[in-house]
Protein backbone atom coordinates (compact mmCIF):
# COMPACT_ATOMS: atom_id res chain seq x y z
CA UNK A 1 0.00 0.00 0.00
CA UNK A 2 2.88 2.27 0.83
CA UNK A 3 4.28 1.69 -2.66
CA UNK A 4 0.92 2.55 -4.28
CA UNK A 5 0.60 5.71 -2.21
CA UNK A 6 4.16 6.69 -3.18
CA UNK A 7 3.35 6.22 -6.88
CA UNK A 8 0.21 8.34 -6.51
CA UNK A 9 2.32 11.14 -5.09
CA UNK A 10 4.59 10.80 -8.11
CA UNK A 11 1.56 11.08 -10.40
CA UNK A 12 0.31 14.13 -8.46
CA UNK A 13 3.70 15.78 -8.79
CA UNK A 14 4.02 14.81 -12.49
CA UNK A 15 0.60 16.26 -13.32
CA UNK A 16 1.45 19.54 -11.58
CA UNK A 17 4.79 19.59 -13.40
CA UNK A 18 3.10 18.96 -16.77
CA UNK A 19 0.56 21.66 -15.93
CA UNK A 20 3.35 24.23 -15.66
CA UNK A 21 4.14 23.65 -19.39
CA UNK A 22 0.53 23.43 -20.58
CA UNK A 23 1.07 24.52 -24.19
CA UNK A 24 4.02 22.22 -24.87
CA UNK A 25 2.41 19.19 -23.27
CA UNK A 26 -0.98 19.78 -24.85
CA UNK A 27 0.63 19.88 -28.31
CA UNK A 28 2.62 16.74 -27.41
CA UNK A 29 -0.58 14.96 -26.44
CA UNK A 30 -2.28 16.12 -29.63
CA UNK A 31 0.54 14.81 -31.85
CA UNK A 32 0.63 11.54 -29.93
CA UNK A 33 -3.15 11.09 -30.22
CA UNK A 34 -3.03 11.88 -33.95
CA UNK A 35 -0.31 9.31 -34.61
CA UNK A 36 -2.10 6.59 -32.64
CA UNK A 37 -5.35 7.57 -34.39
CA UNK A 38 -3.80 7.18 -37.83
CA UNK A 39 -2.03 3.90 -37.09
CA UNK A 40 -5.07 2.33 -35.42
CA UNK A 41 -7.43 3.62 -38.14
CA UNK A 42 -5.28 1.87 -40.75
CA UNK A 43 -5.19 -1.28 -38.66
CA UNK A 44 -8.94 -1.34 -38.00
CA UNK A 45 -9.81 -0.49 -41.61
CA UNK A 46 -7.51 -2.99 -43.25
CA UNK A 47 -8.34 -5.78 -40.84
CA UNK A 48 -12.11 -5.25 -41.28
CA UNK A 49 -11.81 -5.00 -45.07
CA UNK A 50 -9.59 -8.07 -45.21
CA UNK A 51 -12.06 -10.09 -43.16
CA UNK A 52 -14.97 -8.86 -45.27
CA UNK A 53 -13.15 -9.68 -48.53
CA UNK A 54 -12.22 -13.16 -47.36
CA UNK A 55 -15.76 -13.89 -46.16
CA UNK A 56 -17.40 -12.63 -49.35
CA UNK A 57 -14.95 -14.08 -51.85
CA UNK A 58 -15.20 -17.47 -50.23
CA UNK A 59 -18.32 -17.65 -52.43
CA UNK A 60 -16.37 -16.78 -55.60
CA UNK A 61 -16.12 -19.44 -58.35
CA UNK A 62 -13.65 -22.15 -57.41
CA UNK A 63 -11.90 -21.90 -60.77
CA UNK A 64 -11.90 -19.33 -63.56
CA UNK A 65 -10.22 -20.16 -66.85
CA UNK A 66 -8.96 -17.25 -68.92
CA UNK A 67 -7.29 -17.30 -72.29
CA UNK A 68 -4.19 -15.20 -72.83
CA UNK A 69 -2.72 -13.96 -76.10
CA UNK A 70 0.61 -12.14 -76.20
CA UNK A 71 0.44 -11.86 -72.41
CA UNK A 72 -2.98 -10.24 -72.46
CA UNK A 73 -6.36 -11.47 -71.33
CA UNK A 74 -8.21 -12.60 -74.48
CA UNK A 75 -11.72 -13.76 -75.27
CA UNK A 76 -12.10 -17.49 -74.82
CA UNK A 77 -13.71 -19.62 -77.59
CA UNK A 78 -16.71 -21.61 -76.35
CA UNK A 79 -15.20 -24.81 -77.77
CA UNK A 80 -12.70 -24.64 -74.89
CA UNK A 81 -15.64 -25.20 -72.54
CA UNK A 82 -16.47 -28.48 -74.34
CA UNK A 83 -12.87 -29.63 -74.13
CA UNK A 84 -12.61 -28.81 -70.41
CA UNK A 85 -15.92 -30.59 -69.75
CA UNK A 86 -14.26 -33.75 -71.06
CA UNK A 87 -11.69 -33.78 -68.24
CA UNK A 88 -12.50 -36.36 -65.59
CA UNK A 89 -13.52 -34.67 -62.35
CA UNK A 90 -15.05 -31.56 -63.96
CA UNK A 91 -18.71 -31.19 -63.04
CA UNK A 92 -19.63 -28.20 -65.19
CA UNK A 93 -18.18 -25.39 -67.28
CA UNK A 94 -20.05 -22.14 -67.67
CA UNK A 95 -19.20 -19.11 -69.78
CA UNK A 96 -18.95 -15.73 -68.06
CA UNK A 97 -19.73 -12.62 -70.06
CA UNK A 98 -18.43 -9.42 -68.59
CA UNK A 99 -16.47 -6.37 -69.58
CA UNK A 100 -16.11 -2.66 -68.94
CA UNK A 101 -18.00 0.33 -70.20
CA UNK A 102 -16.56 3.83 -69.99
CA UNK A 103 -19.24 6.50 -69.81
CA UNK A 104 -17.76 9.85 -70.94
CA UNK A 105 -20.51 11.95 -69.33
CA UNK A 106 -19.75 10.68 -65.83
CA UNK A 107 -16.09 9.91 -66.63
CA UNK A 108 -16.51 6.58 -64.85
CA UNK A 109 -15.80 2.96 -65.67
CA UNK A 110 -18.59 0.48 -65.10
CA UNK A 111 -18.54 -3.30 -65.07
CA UNK A 112 -21.07 -4.72 -67.52
CA UNK A 113 -22.10 -8.29 -66.98
CA UNK A 114 -24.54 -10.72 -68.57
CA UNK A 115 -26.08 -13.54 -66.62
CA UNK A 116 -28.43 -16.20 -67.90
CA UNK A 117 -31.21 -16.69 -67.01
CA UNK A 118 -31.87 -12.95 -66.83
CA UNK A 119 -35.30 -12.26 -65.34
CA UNK A 120 -35.82 -9.02 -67.27
CA UNK A 121 -36.05 -8.05 -70.93
CA UNK A 122 -33.24 -7.40 -73.43
CA UNK A 123 -33.83 -3.65 -73.07
CA UNK A 124 -33.68 -3.70 -69.29
CA UNK A 125 -30.86 -3.66 -66.74
CA UNK A 126 -30.25 -4.27 -63.06
CA UNK A 127 -27.74 -1.73 -61.74
CA UNK A 128 -25.70 -1.06 -58.64
CA UNK A 129 -26.22 1.93 -56.39
CA UNK A 130 -23.05 3.62 -57.67
CA UNK A 131 -24.35 3.56 -61.26
CA UNK A 132 -27.48 5.45 -60.22
CA UNK A 133 -25.39 7.95 -58.25
CA UNK A 134 -22.93 8.75 -61.00
CA UNK A 135 -24.50 8.10 -64.41
CA UNK A 136 -26.15 11.50 -64.61
CA UNK A 137 -28.99 10.84 -67.03
CA UNK A 138 -31.73 13.34 -67.56
CA UNK A 139 -34.25 10.58 -67.07
CA UNK A 140 -33.57 8.73 -63.83
CA UNK A 141 -34.82 5.30 -64.84
CA UNK A 142 -32.91 4.63 -68.03
CA UNK A 143 -29.33 4.43 -69.23
CA UNK A 144 -28.21 5.32 -72.73
CA UNK A 145 -25.12 3.43 -73.82
CA UNK A 146 -23.12 3.57 -77.03
CA UNK A 147 -22.56 0.16 -78.56
CA UNK A 148 -19.33 -1.01 -80.24
CA UNK A 149 -20.81 0.01 -83.62
CA UNK A 150 -21.84 3.46 -82.42
CA UNK A 151 -25.51 2.59 -82.12
CA UNK A 152 -27.33 4.04 -79.07
CA UNK A 153 -28.72 1.41 -76.73
CA UNK A 154 -31.33 2.50 -74.20
CA UNK A 155 -31.73 0.31 -71.15
CA UNK A 156 -34.55 0.72 -68.68
CA UNK A 157 -33.52 0.25 -65.06
CA UNK A 158 -35.72 -2.65 -63.99
CA UNK A 159 -34.17 -3.12 -60.58
CA UNK A 160 -31.27 -1.93 -58.46
CA UNK A 161 -28.97 -3.90 -56.21
CA UNK A 162 -29.56 -2.95 -52.60
CA UNK A 163 -27.28 -0.32 -51.11
CA UNK A 164 -25.80 -2.92 -48.75
CA UNK A 165 -24.32 -4.76 -51.75
CA UNK A 166 -22.32 -1.69 -52.82
CA UNK A 167 -19.02 -3.27 -51.83
CA UNK A 168 -19.40 -5.91 -54.54
CA UNK A 169 -21.88 -4.45 -57.00
CA UNK A 170 -21.66 -0.66 -56.88
CA UNK A 171 -20.49 -0.27 -60.51
CA UNK A 172 -22.34 -3.27 -61.91
CA UNK A 173 -24.70 -3.12 -64.88
CA UNK A 174 -26.37 -6.49 -65.29
CA UNK A 175 -28.03 -7.16 -68.65
CA UNK A 176 -29.16 -10.08 -70.80
CA UNK A 177 -26.73 -12.03 -72.98
CA UNK A 178 -28.33 -10.64 -76.16
CA UNK A 179 -27.98 -7.06 -74.93
CA UNK A 180 -24.39 -7.72 -73.84
CA UNK A 181 -23.36 -9.10 -77.24
CA UNK A 182 -25.14 -6.22 -78.96
CA UNK A 183 -23.39 -3.68 -76.77
CA UNK A 184 -19.88 -5.10 -76.86
CA UNK A 185 -19.82 -6.87 -80.23
CA UNK A 186 -18.64 -10.06 -78.53
CA UNK A 187 -18.97 -12.84 -81.16
CA UNK A 188 -21.54 -15.58 -80.48
CA UNK A 189 -19.00 -18.36 -80.00
CA UNK A 190 -16.80 -16.46 -77.54
CA UNK A 191 -17.00 -15.60 -73.84
CA UNK A 192 -14.91 -13.45 -71.49
CA UNK A 193 -13.82 -16.41 -69.40
CA UNK A 194 -15.05 -19.77 -68.11
CA UNK A 195 -16.18 -20.86 -64.66
CA UNK A 196 -15.21 -24.44 -63.93
CA UNK A 197 -16.92 -26.42 -61.17
CA UNK A 198 -14.97 -29.43 -59.97
CA UNK A 199 -16.54 -32.51 -58.35
CA UNK A 200 -13.93 -32.78 -55.61
CA UNK A 201 -12.56 -29.37 -54.55
CA UNK A 202 -9.34 -31.06 -53.40
CA UNK A 203 -8.60 -31.84 -57.05
CA UNK A 204 -8.78 -28.21 -58.22
CA UNK A 205 -5.02 -27.84 -58.56
CA UNK A 206 -4.67 -31.10 -60.54
CA UNK A 207 -7.50 -30.16 -62.87
CA UNK A 208 -6.02 -26.67 -63.36
CA UNK A 209 -2.75 -28.31 -64.40
CA UNK A 210 -4.61 -30.65 -66.80
CA UNK A 211 -6.43 -27.68 -68.35
CA UNK A 212 -3.15 -25.84 -68.77
CA UNK A 213 -1.52 -28.87 -70.42
CA UNK A 214 -4.48 -29.44 -72.73
CA UNK A 215 -4.98 -25.76 -73.62
CA UNK A 216 -1.58 -24.10 -73.16
CA UNK A 217 -2.88 -20.59 -73.91
CA UNK A 218 -5.19 -20.64 -70.89
CA UNK A 219 -4.61 -19.40 -67.37
CA UNK A 220 -6.67 -21.04 -64.61
CA UNK A 221 -7.27 -18.86 -61.53
CA UNK A 222 -8.23 -20.77 -58.40
CA UNK A 223 -10.39 -19.41 -55.59
CA UNK A 224 -7.43 -19.83 -53.23
CA UNK A 225 -5.43 -17.44 -55.42
CA UNK A 226 -8.26 -14.89 -55.32
CA UNK A 227 -8.37 -15.13 -51.53
CA UNK A 228 -4.58 -14.94 -51.31
CA UNK A 229 -4.53 -11.80 -53.44
CA UNK A 230 -7.04 -10.06 -51.17
CA UNK A 231 -5.37 -11.34 -48.02
CA UNK A 232 -2.08 -9.78 -49.13
CA UNK A 233 -3.76 -6.62 -50.45
CA UNK A 234 -5.15 -5.81 -47.02
CA UNK A 235 -2.37 -7.29 -45.00
CA UNK A 236 -0.89 -4.66 -42.70
CA UNK A 237 2.60 -5.41 -44.00
CA UNK A 238 1.81 -4.81 -47.66
CA UNK A 239 -0.12 -2.82 -50.21
CA UNK A 240 -1.61 0.50 -49.33
CA UNK A 241 -1.54 -0.22 -45.61
CA UNK A 242 2.22 0.01 -45.52
CA UNK A 243 2.07 3.24 -47.56
CA UNK A 244 -0.18 4.84 -44.94
CA UNK A 245 1.54 3.24 -41.97
CA UNK A 246 5.08 4.15 -42.95
CA UNK A 247 4.31 7.89 -42.75
CA UNK A 248 2.74 7.55 -39.31
CA UNK A 249 5.49 5.31 -37.96
CA UNK A 250 8.16 7.68 -39.26
CA UNK A 251 6.38 10.60 -37.58
CA UNK A 252 6.29 8.64 -34.35
CA UNK A 253 10.02 7.92 -34.52
CA UNK A 254 10.88 11.57 -35.16
CA UNK A 255 8.63 12.52 -32.28
CA UNK A 256 10.17 9.95 -29.90
CA UNK A 257 13.70 10.79 -31.05
CA UNK A 258 13.16 14.48 -30.38
CA UNK A 259 11.95 13.60 -26.91
CA UNK A 260 14.86 11.24 -26.27
CA UNK A 261 17.60 13.61 -27.33
CA UNK A 262 17.23 16.24 -24.67
CA UNK A 263 15.48 18.12 -21.93
CA UNK A 264 14.81 21.82 -21.81
CA UNK A 265 16.87 24.02 -19.47
CA UNK A 266 13.80 24.37 -17.25
CA UNK A 267 13.38 20.60 -16.98
CA UNK A 268 17.09 20.15 -16.20
CA UNK A 269 16.88 22.76 -13.44
CA UNK A 270 13.80 21.05 -12.03
CA UNK A 271 15.66 17.73 -11.79
CA UNK A 272 18.64 19.50 -10.17
CA UNK A 273 16.38 21.08 -7.53
CA UNK A 274 14.68 17.77 -6.81
CA UNK A 275 18.08 16.10 -6.39
CA UNK A 276 19.22 18.91 -4.10
CA UNK A 277 16.05 18.44 -2.05
CA UNK A 278 16.96 14.82 -1.48
CA UNK A 279 15.22 12.90 -4.30
CA UNK A 280 17.00 9.72 -5.40
CA UNK A 281 17.86 9.01 -9.03
CA UNK A 282 15.26 6.22 -8.88
CA UNK A 283 12.60 8.73 -7.69
CA UNK A 284 13.39 11.01 -10.62
CA UNK A 285 13.24 8.09 -13.03
CA UNK A 286 9.94 7.04 -11.48
CA UNK A 287 8.56 10.56 -11.89
CA UNK A 288 9.71 10.67 -15.55
CA UNK A 289 8.23 7.22 -16.18
CA UNK A 290 4.87 8.50 -14.96
CA UNK A 291 5.28 11.61 -17.10
CA UNK A 292 5.65 9.36 -20.16
CA UNK A 293 2.74 7.20 -19.03
CA UNK A 294 0.40 10.14 -18.42
CA UNK A 295 0.86 11.42 -21.97
CA UNK A 296 1.08 8.09 -23.76
CA UNK A 297 -1.82 6.36 -21.99
CA UNK A 298 -4.21 9.25 -22.61
CA UNK A 299 -2.89 9.59 -26.19
CA UNK A 300 -3.26 5.86 -26.82
CA UNK A 301 -6.78 5.63 -25.40
CA UNK A 302 -8.02 8.80 -27.13
CA UNK A 303 -6.37 7.85 -30.45
CA UNK A 304 -7.78 4.32 -30.42
CA UNK A 305 -11.31 5.44 -29.48
CA UNK A 306 -11.28 8.11 -32.20
CA UNK A 307 -9.96 5.58 -34.74
CA UNK A 308 -12.75 3.14 -33.92
CA UNK A 309 -15.36 5.87 -34.33
CA UNK A 310 -13.72 7.00 -37.59
CA UNK A 311 -13.69 3.54 -39.15
CA UNK A 312 -16.88 1.93 -37.84
CA UNK A 313 -19.23 4.86 -37.18
CA UNK A 314 -18.23 7.29 -39.96
CA UNK A 315 -17.08 4.87 -42.71
CA UNK A 316 -13.42 5.99 -42.79
CA UNK A 317 -13.81 9.28 -44.70
CA UNK A 318 -10.07 9.99 -44.44
CA UNK A 319 -9.21 6.84 -46.38
CA UNK A 320 -11.92 7.22 -49.01
CA UNK A 321 -9.78 9.79 -50.76
CA UNK A 322 -6.74 7.49 -50.83
CA UNK A 323 -8.77 4.57 -52.09
CA UNK A 324 -10.68 6.57 -54.67
CA UNK A 325 -7.61 7.60 -56.65
CA UNK A 326 -8.82 8.85 -60.01
CA UNK A 327 -12.06 6.96 -59.79
CA UNK A 328 -15.29 8.92 -59.76
CA UNK A 329 -17.29 5.99 -58.52
CA UNK A 330 -16.57 4.85 -54.99
CA UNK A 331 -18.86 2.50 -53.08
CA UNK A 332 -20.44 3.45 -49.79
CA UNK A 333 -20.13 0.60 -47.38
CA UNK A 334 -20.43 -0.17 -43.72
CA UNK A 335 -17.68 -2.36 -42.35
CA UNK A 336 -18.31 -5.19 -39.98
CA UNK A 337 -16.52 -4.16 -36.76
CA UNK A 338 -13.95 -6.85 -36.25
CA UNK A 339 -11.01 -5.82 -34.16
CA UNK A 340 -8.17 -8.10 -33.33
CA UNK A 341 -7.31 -7.62 -29.64
CA UNK A 342 -3.84 -8.96 -30.42
CA UNK A 343 -3.29 -6.01 -32.78
CA UNK A 344 -4.48 -3.58 -30.10
CA UNK A 345 -2.03 -5.21 -27.70
CA UNK A 346 0.82 -4.79 -30.19
CA UNK A 347 -0.15 -1.16 -30.77
CA UNK A 348 -0.22 -0.59 -27.01
CA UNK A 349 3.23 -2.08 -26.48
CA UNK A 350 4.66 -0.30 -29.50
CA UNK A 351 3.39 3.15 -28.56
CA UNK A 352 2.95 3.42 -24.78
CA UNK A 353 6.03 1.61 -23.46
CA UNK A 354 8.72 2.91 -25.85
CA UNK A 355 7.54 6.45 -25.25
CA UNK A 356 7.47 6.03 -21.46
CA UNK A 357 11.01 4.61 -21.49
CA UNK A 358 12.33 7.11 -24.02
CA UNK A 359 11.33 9.97 -21.72
CA UNK A 360 13.43 8.40 -18.95
CA UNK A 361 16.75 8.35 -20.87
CA UNK A 362 17.55 12.12 -20.85
CA UNK A 363 16.23 12.38 -17.30
CA UNK A 364 18.55 9.59 -16.21
CA UNK A 365 21.51 11.37 -17.86
CA UNK A 366 20.73 14.56 -15.93
CA UNK A 367 19.86 12.75 -12.69
CA UNK A 368 23.24 11.04 -12.41
CA UNK A 369 25.17 14.33 -12.68
CA UNK A 370 25.88 16.56 -9.71
CA UNK A 371 22.81 18.75 -8.85
CA UNK A 372 25.02 21.79 -8.42
CA UNK A 373 26.36 21.37 -11.94
CA UNK A 374 22.87 20.80 -13.36
CA UNK A 375 21.43 23.95 -11.78
CA UNK A 376 24.27 26.23 -12.90
Amino acid sequence: MKWVERQRYFVDFTLSSLGRRKGKNASLLLVYTLIVFLVSSVMFFSSALRKEALTLLDEAPEMIVQRTLAGRHELVPLRYAKEIRGIRGVRSVEARLWGYYYHPASRSNYTVMAREPFEHGDDEAVVGDGVLRTWGTSSGNQLTLRSHSGEAIVLKIAETFSASSDLVASDLILISETAFRRLTGLPEDFATDLVVVVRNPAECQTIAEKINRMLPDTRPILREEILRTYASLFDWRSGYVIVLLSGAVLAFFIFAWDKATGLSAEERAEIGILKALGWDTSDILGMKFWEGCVVSLIGFLAGTILAYLHVFFAPAPLFAHALKGWAILYPTFELNPSVDLYQIGILFFLTVFPYAFVTMIPAWRVAITDPDEVMR
Binding site: R8, V11, L15, S16, E52, L56, L57, D58, E59, A60, I64, G71, R72, H73, R96, Y100, N109, Y110, M113, R115, G130, S162, S164, S165, D166, L167, V168, A169, S170, D171, L172, V195, I221, E225, I226, T229, Y230, S232, L233, S238, G239, Y240, V243, V294, L301, T304, I305, Y308, L309, A322, L323, G325, W326, A327, L329, Y330, N336, P337, V339, L341
Partner: protein, 100 residues
Amino acid sequence: MPLVRKSDLWLALVGASAAVLLLLLLAHPAFVAKRLREKQQERKGLVRELQLTDLCLFTEASYTRHPTQADLHTPFQDHPMSLEHFPSGSVVMPPHFPGS
Protein backbone atom coordinates in the same frame (compact mmCIF):
# COMPACT_ATOMS: atom_id res chain seq x y z
CA MET B 1 -4.54 19.66 0.21
CA PRO B 2 -7.39 19.88 -2.35
CA LEU B 3 -10.38 17.55 -1.90
CA VAL B 4 -9.76 15.68 -5.18
CA ARG B 5 -6.21 14.74 -5.96
CA LYS B 6 -4.89 15.20 -9.47
CA SER B 7 -3.85 11.56 -9.59
CA ASP B 8 -7.44 10.54 -8.82
CA LEU B 9 -8.73 12.69 -11.67
CA TRP B 10 -6.14 11.21 -14.04
CA LEU B 11 -6.94 7.65 -12.94
CA ALA B 12 -10.65 8.34 -13.37
CA LEU B 13 -10.02 9.69 -16.88
CA VAL B 14 -7.88 6.69 -17.85
CA GLY B 15 -10.41 4.29 -16.32
CA ALA B 16 -13.34 5.92 -18.11
CA SER B 17 -11.49 5.97 -21.45
CA ALA B 18 -10.46 2.33 -21.06
CA ALA B 19 -14.09 1.43 -20.26
CA VAL B 20 -15.32 3.29 -23.37
CA LEU B 21 -12.69 1.53 -25.50
CA LEU B 22 -13.58 -1.89 -24.13
CA LEU B 23 -17.25 -1.17 -24.65
CA LEU B 24 -16.56 -0.24 -28.27
CA LEU B 25 -14.32 -3.22 -28.91
CA LEU B 26 -16.47 -5.84 -27.25
CA ALA B 27 -20.05 -4.61 -27.01
CA HIS B 28 -20.46 -2.64 -30.25
CA PRO B 29 -19.61 -5.53 -32.62
CA ALA B 30 -22.10 -7.76 -30.77
CA PHE B 31 -24.74 -5.02 -30.84
CA VAL B 32 -24.60 -4.52 -34.63
CA ALA B 33 -23.71 -8.13 -35.51
CA LYS B 34 -27.22 -9.29 -36.45
CA ARG B 35 -27.96 -6.35 -38.74
CA LEU B 36 -24.56 -6.45 -40.43
CA ARG B 37 -24.63 -10.24 -40.79
CA GLU B 38 -27.89 -9.99 -42.73
CA LYS B 39 -26.31 -7.44 -45.08
CA GLN B 40 -23.21 -9.60 -45.43
CA GLN B 41 -25.36 -12.63 -46.30
CA GLU B 42 -26.98 -10.54 -49.02
CA ARG B 43 -23.54 -9.66 -50.44
CA LYS B 44 -22.40 -13.26 -50.22
CA GLY B 45 -25.52 -14.36 -52.08
CA LEU B 46 -24.77 -11.85 -54.83
CA VAL B 47 -21.14 -13.00 -55.14
CA ARG B 48 -22.33 -16.62 -55.42
CA GLU B 49 -25.17 -15.89 -57.85
CA LEU B 50 -23.25 -13.57 -60.18
CA GLN B 51 -19.95 -15.49 -59.83
CA LEU B 52 -18.10 -12.32 -58.81
CA THR B 53 -14.38 -12.43 -58.13
CA ASP B 54 -13.49 -8.99 -56.76
CA LEU B 55 -14.57 -6.20 -54.45
CA CYS B 56 -15.71 -2.98 -56.08
CA LEU B 57 -13.17 -0.68 -54.41
CA PHE B 58 -10.97 0.86 -57.11
CA THR B 59 -12.92 1.41 -60.31
CA GLU B 60 -10.45 3.50 -62.28
CA ALA B 61 -8.59 0.75 -64.16
CA SER B 62 -9.29 -2.86 -65.05
CA TYR B 63 -6.37 -4.17 -63.01
CA THR B 64 -7.47 -2.28 -59.91
CA ARG B 65 -11.17 -3.10 -60.34
CA HIS B 66 -10.44 -6.81 -60.81
CA PRO B 67 -6.95 -7.36 -59.32
CA THR B 68 -7.43 -11.12 -59.21
CA GLN B 69 -8.29 -11.32 -62.92
CA ALA B 70 -5.51 -9.10 -64.18
CA ASP B 71 -2.13 -10.41 -65.18
CA LEU B 72 1.17 -8.87 -64.12
CA HIS B 73 1.53 -6.94 -67.41
CA THR B 74 -1.89 -5.29 -67.37
CA PRO B 75 -0.81 -2.02 -65.73
CA PHE B 76 1.80 -1.52 -68.48
CA GLN B 77 -0.12 -2.71 -71.51
CA ASP B 78 -1.23 0.56 -73.07
CA HIS B 79 1.91 0.79 -75.18
CA PRO B 80 5.42 -0.70 -74.94
CA MET B 81 6.94 2.15 -72.90
CA SER B 82 3.82 2.88 -70.90
CA LEU B 83 4.26 3.31 -67.17
CA GLU B 84 1.57 2.40 -64.72
CA HIS B 85 0.08 5.72 -63.68
CA PHE B 86 -3.17 5.31 -61.74
CA PRO B 87 -2.86 6.26 -58.04
CA SER B 88 -4.57 3.03 -56.96
CA GLY B 89 -1.84 1.13 -58.76
CA SER B 90 0.54 2.14 -56.00
CA VAL B 91 -1.70 0.67 -53.34
CA VAL B 92 -2.99 -2.46 -55.08
CA MET B 93 -0.71 -5.46 -54.87
CA PRO B 94 -0.21 -7.53 -58.02
CA PRO B 95 -2.10 -10.84 -57.99
CA HIS B 96 -0.50 -13.84 -56.34
CA PHE B 97 0.35 -16.59 -58.78
CA PRO B 98 1.64 -19.97 -57.73
CA GLY B 99 5.40 -19.83 -57.64
CA SER B 100 5.57 -16.02 -57.94
